[in-house]
Amino acid sequence: MAVIYSIDFDWLLGFFPDDLPFVIEANIVMTFIFFVFAVFFVGFIILLRIFKNFRNKKKEEQRLLLEDILNAYLFDEEFDKERELQKFKDEHLNKPLEIKIAIKEILLFHSNIKGESATQLRELFLQWELDEFCKKQLANSAWYSKSRALFSLSEMLIKVELENIKPLLNHKQDEVRQQAQLYFIKLAEDNPLEFLDHIDKPLTLWEEIFIEDALKNEYHGPMPDYSNWLHSVQNSVVDFAIRMIAKFNQFENISELLPLLEHSCEQVRRETIRSLCALEHYEVIDTLISQFEEETNLVKKTILDAIEHLGSYNDLMMLKDKIQDNEWDLKIKYYGIAQYFLPEKKQSIYIQYEKEKALLL
């Protein structure tokens, strides 16, 4: 308070009697300061509101203009491309806000459309020189400019010096890292996952969802052999590779998957079981049954799922005595699967479970 007090508030205190004690003077000064701030914020709120409204109006106007010209450009055969597009560029693509909205709108169109029209949109992007703006943004030190620029460039399939992008794979901001990954996939002609060898942090599920999506929908080269990453140092990468082997039906990699049933990481073992299941590798059931007892609870559950999917009631029976008395979650699963195999005995299996419950509790 001493600091504040040393600022000259004499003029304020001049309104009050001269000989006020320190505490009271301090109170008056504090009240004054708080009120000034409050009024300041009220003013700020109102200004912000006016500014936002103004900006939103601008945005909406620009957006509507763009919608019209983009639709005409894509679908109207009589549209005079050369003249109209140049005119639009001269009149409506001068300020950064206008350019940003144009980029956003083209990306939005592009995300909903494929084929010839999508190619046309990418041509337009270059014709309006929006790529220049993005490249400048990429060089900007703010992470959100970088990641946005990466996103726009990759969507529009615009090549930049890969050496500039590589370091961004390990950028400290998640968003930049993710956009860099996607850039590599979308622009790759082959080997889209080469970047996986260069990342220094585990992949998150979130990133994996986007990578998978990009591989499916935006990468058009030959599908990579995912077994290349089954021995990566990153368990998350191994995990992802296992899942992709199943997703893209790489049956030829089944033999590569089998040793991973012994992997030290629980998650990797589970994913391996799931993928073998999805690839309908029936032979794995015996191995799973023999490994059951040594496994962790989560892997045991996955094994039960696998038996439901690939096995038979007889396979399931083999596990009955391997489930411990206190493993209730496994028991429930066990009986549930038994009901699935023998739907006509649903009720008697339920009674059996209830009996076992009564016996043990």
Binding site: E67, N71, A72, N112, I113, K114, G115
Partner: protein, 118 residues
């Protein structure tokens, strides 16, 4: 003029579809959600329905079920972001005539519409 009912909640897609299909010479009527669509279907007849699956209020599946039961003559094209097999299978099992995944090619869509309406 053939009438197409477009049920879609993405304004950008609506506008493009409207533009493209109007150019192709159809009368395009828009319903932004499933409930609105049901209302429109009760009041007038249409030659084709183009619908999304993830719709507010009334889902695409409910809508399809309604049309197939009450207005079986109207062909349905689903336009959806879903690429999951089971969702596509479900739609065909319910009797839709065609399934187009987003992102879509407007030219292809236009051809498929033409095929169903000729």
């Amino acid at each position: 003029m053939k009438k197409i009912l477009v049920i879609e909640d993405n304004p950008m897609v609506i506008k493009s579809l409207q533009f493209k299909l109007t150019k192709d010479g159809y009368d395009v009527i828009i319903a932004p959600d499933g409930r609105e669509a049901l209302k429109l279907l009760k009041d007038a007849t249409y030659d084709l329905i183009l619908t999304d699956l993830n719709l507010p209020f009334v889902t695409g599946n409910e809508l399809i079920a309604y049309v197939k039961e009450n207005l079986p003559a109207i062909p349905i094209i689903v336009l959806s972001t879903s690429t999951q097999e089971n969702i596509i299978m479900d739609a065909f099992n319910m009797g839709v005539e065609d399934f187009i995944t987003k992102p879509f090619s407007p030219n292809e869509l236009s051809l498929r519409v033409k095929r169903l309406l000729s």
